[in-house]
Amino acid sequence: MKKLLLFCSFALTVLSVRAHEYYFAFGEVEYNETTKKLEITLELSAHDMESDLKKTGVVFDKHMENQSQNAVFKKQLEAYLLKGFSISNGDQPVSISLMGFDVLPNGQLYVYMESLPLELKSSLLFRFDLLMETFPDQQNKITFIHHKQKQTAVFLPTKPTEIITL
């Protein structure tokens, strides 16, 4: 038997937001042959993200777009993102850091991340279960670009990891 760890968060969870039927995040990951870095963009619903961030105890005033110069928030956001998005190069975890983010007027959030330089091995293991704990209908997808070739992988609450073979 395991002990259940509880976070002491009293922020309200958004429930049954009927008009808000998004629950879809998309990632674009490209290996930059020059810098040897993985360049990552995640696209999510800013509203879902704000709600989930607050649920996990990240405190910030108003909306995410007000936090672009908030270094503390960025650190918290990075930690949050890396819990739900990670990459292993072969069996080596890839170090990823947050570069910045944008919130579009239509509520789409773009998060930009980058890895340290690396030599690609024969496969990459992706974990992308961001938002899935809060929103059971969440489905995520990535497109991996290498040598101009694109591969796509789908992530579900029952299938949070995927291997892309190069």
Binding site: F7, S9, F26, H63, N106
Partner: protein
């Protein structure tokens, strides 16, 4: 570049094709009959049932309970004898043992916060308490409850053209929408100790009985919404006397529930094209503080509606304005607490009026006398003439751009639902896309007419590509039952809206599409359409065979990814030996040389035929590029046979390009090709999807231009939902990734900082 060779006989190549993507929809669609025609219209024997309601409701604001007594008069217009009647008990989804709770898939990660555990353990005693079901004379009627459905057994079967009236008495605990969730319920405002109620699915409602489903009595599990017959409503709602009530229909007793000043303001609003406040913020705030203990009864009547909903609170501000559709006045109204300001007072009612106008243009003239938007936090939900919408500013009155556009979008969307499904009354329990998808499509048109460049979230073709591409295993076809859809929002809202946009902009063109779409709306207003009725009407009214489109976009999970594989360049052969032989020599001289030949020039000092002059014969000695007498004679003979027009064509220097395309995504699509020329001009060629009819995988096409082409671009206006645009250009052009765009624009300052810097002169 190659020269074109002319063959005397044109060979036609016939290939065998399975034609699966262009096969006519046959087994997929129901057989047309006297109720629904092959043209997609209601048939000569089309019928629908009628359900009229008279209701008395009492709101208990102390205990958050609603009690009601309703008399339903049900008219059987079908040719069938009905042994029993089915009603919907949607509130039973809140019963502690409801199926929707039992079937929710859970895992331990769902219990990470104390709040999660608290919510899981919280027991809300929701659901209907049916006190009695009786005839209007008070005789008990037999009934049985099956979860969210109730069967009533009349004393004798209800025959065709017969009506029956019966009475149901009930009550239920209203759910705290912010804690328990739900489409309706209450929001509690702790600061002033007041409630805002948005009440819907609150009474036992008749199911639809029709030629398609019989009784549509599928259980309510949460996603598949409501399927309801039309009828007339008279509803009296008793609430605390300081409450303001908004309801489906027209208020019947304004004199009894409104002050003289409010009625005066309302008279002014009825002729105003701008919002007029009926209840001001100061008046609403005053009501918040001084809670009344007496009650008032508000009475509403609505004709030919499929449902009734209302909202009530002492916190409500209320504004109204008139809008005119084809000479008919429509009263547009908004009800909102002060927490909705400044957004709500400024925009809500104007958005209602704009939505009514735009939807009337593209669908049918709005037929009801009122249209209402009510502010309820974090939700958007639709009912006839009234809807509940989110979009709440921060407590300090500021709001973000995404909050503003979110509020605008949800109001347009929910007011738009008056048309789909409240009037064009499809079966929501079965097909979510029929109302959500069509509504999202017209929402997009409405947003674009509200503000040029409005950042619509759904509608434009390129916005659906992330969802559609890749692994098809976890994508549902649009034609999937509401409860079984992967990715509800993209599937039921985004993809059908995109598909209709592609039909309008690319496949059919605006004129044909708009006529056909309006025909569908006119045919099925105040009726119950099915997908086949939409598919058939769109074809029937436009003269465009769209079976391939419905098959690909609605019945499959294929996606559009067409690649431009190669481009071959040709010019006409002039047959002039002086020109052609010189060209041939030039081409031969510029041909790349094999490395062995280059090295052999030095390595082999002398070949045998260079040493022995007797080796070279006629073939070795002839000059391939020399123009001889016969060449000239043949050319003169060739010229003599040509007409003046043919001579002109030969001299025109037409440029021929053969382009090859591969359908990588599986979904056949029209080809939109832009050719750019050296002089900076361009030409766009639009090829119908039928180019794929004999070969669904690869096709080639020849284009003829007056001048050489610099580049070709497939889908240059992002209108086909092509999921990979990197293989769309010749010469190859790869678009920047989003990350690269971010790097390009990154300079560390936000737009406001930039503005400040500009103002400071730095």
């Amino acid at each position: 570049m190659k020269k074109i060779l002319f063959f005397p006989i044109v060979l036609s190549v016939f290939s065998v094709s399975a034609q699966t993507k262009f096969a006519q929809l046959d087994i997929e669609l129901p057989t047309p009959n006297e109720y629904r025609t092959a043209a997609g219209a209601p048939g000569h024997a089309y019928y629908q049932q009628k359900a009229d309601y008279k209701m008395n409701l009492i709101l208990d604001d102390e205990k958050q309970i609603i009690r009601g007594e309703e008399i339903i008069t049900y008219t059987n217009n079908s040719p069938d004898v009905l042994e029993y009647l089915w009603l919907q008990l949607d509130q039973n989804i809140f019963k502690p043992d409801s199926d929707s709770k039992l079937i929710a898939v859970e895992k331990m990660e769902d219990f990470q916060s104390i709040r999660d555990v608290e919510r899981k353990l919280m027991v809300f005693e929701g659901g209907f308490n049916i006190e009695s079901v009786s005839t209007v004379n008070g005789e008990k009627m037999r009934y049985a409850i099956n979860k969210t459905m109730m069967r009533i057994d009349p004393a004798k079967p209800l025959g065709p053209k017969q009506s029956i009236s019966f009475k149901i008495k009930w009550w239920y605990n209203i759910n705290d929408r912010m804690k328990v969730g739900g489409r309706s319920g209450y929001e509690y405002f702790e600061k002033d100790n007041n409630y805002l109620y948005t009440i819907a699915q609150f009474f036992p409602r008749m199911c639809v009985y029709n030629d398609v489903e019989g009784w549509q009595n599928k259980q309510f599990l949460g996603k598949g919404e409501f399927t309801l017959p039309f009828g007339d409503y008279e509803v009296s709602i008793t609430v605390p006397s300081d409450h303001i009530v908004a309801g489906t229909g027209e208020l019947q007793n304004g004199a009894a529930v409104m002050t003289a000043e409010q009625r005066q303001r309302m008279d002014k609003a009825k002729t105003s094209d701008k919002p007029v406040l009926i209840v001001t913020q100061a008046e609403a705030e005053n009501a918040e503080k001084n809670k009344a203990t007496s009650t008032k009864t508000w009475t509403f009547k609505a004709k030919n509606v499929r449902d009734f909903a209302f909202a009530t609170s002492r916190k409500f501000m209320w504004d109204a304005q008139n809008t005119v559709v084809k000479g008919k006045n429509i009263l547009c109204m908004s009800f909102y607490p002060k927490e909705g300001n400044p957004l709500w007072e400024r925009y809500s009612t104007k958005l209602v009026a704009h939505t009514i106008q735009t939807y009337s243009k593209y669908t049918i003239d709005y037929p009801y006398p009122v249209a209402i938007s009510v502010h309820s936090n974090q939700i958007g939900m639709e009912y006839p003439m009234i809807c509940f919408n989110g979009g709440r500013p921060n407590e300090d009155g500021t709001y973000s751009e995404q909050t503003k556009y979110g509020m605008w979008g949800v109001i347009i969307h929910e007011v738009g639902h008056n048309f789909f499904p409240m009037i064009i009354n499809s079966d929501e329990r079965q097909w979510s896309w029929m109302d959500e998808g069509l509504n999202t499509f017209v929402q997009y048109l409405t947003e674009q007419e509200w503000e040029r460049g409005y950042p619509s979230r759904r509608g434009p073709a390129n916005m659906i590509t992330d969802y559609m591409r890749g692994d098809k295993k976890f994508i549902s076809p649009i034609m999937t039952n509401s409860e079984s859809i992967w990715q509800f929002g993209n599937n039921a809202y985004g993809k059908p809206a995109t598909a209709l946009n592609i039909l309008r902009e690319t496949v059919m063109g605006r004129e044909l599409f708009d006529f056909a779409f309006k025909t569908y709306c006119e045919r099925w207003k105040f009726k119950h359409p099915t997908p086949a009725d939409l598919f058939r009407t769109m074809e029937d009214a436009s003269g465009v065979d769209l079976d391939w489109f419905w098959r690909g976009w609605f019945y499959s999970t294929d996606y559009v990814d067409i690649s431009l594989d190669y481009v071959k360049h040709f010019e006409l052969n002039s047959n002039n030996p002086d020109v052609e032989k010189a060209e041939n020599k030039k081409a031969a001289d510029s041909k790349p040389q094999f490395i062995g030949d280059i090295r052999n020039k030095d390595a082999i000092k002398q070949t045998v035929n260079e040493r022995d002059t007797l080796i070279d014969d006629f073939y070795a000695k002839r000059n391939l590029y020399e123009v001889d007498r016969l060449d000239k004679k043949e050319y003169e003979e060739f010229q003599a046979k040509l007409t003046p027009e043919q001579k002109k064509l030969l001299e025109s220097k037409k440029q021929f390009y053969e382009l090859a395309f591969t359908n990588k995504g599986g979904l056949v699509s029209p080809l939109v090709i832009q050719a750019k020329f050296a002089d900076g001009t361009d030409q766009v060629i639009r090829i119908p999807a039928e180019i794929w009819r004999m070969d669904e995988t690869t096709v080639t096409k020849v284009f003829i231009f007056d001048q050489p082409v610099v580049s070709f671009q497939l889908d240059p206006f992002l209108e086909t939902a092509d999921c990979d645009t990197d293989n769309n250009a010749y010469p190859h052009v790869s678009g920047p990734t989003r990350f690269q765009l971010f790097q390009q624009k990154q300079n560390g300052e936000n737009p406001m900082q930039r503005q400040k810097r500009m103002q400071s002169g730095n």
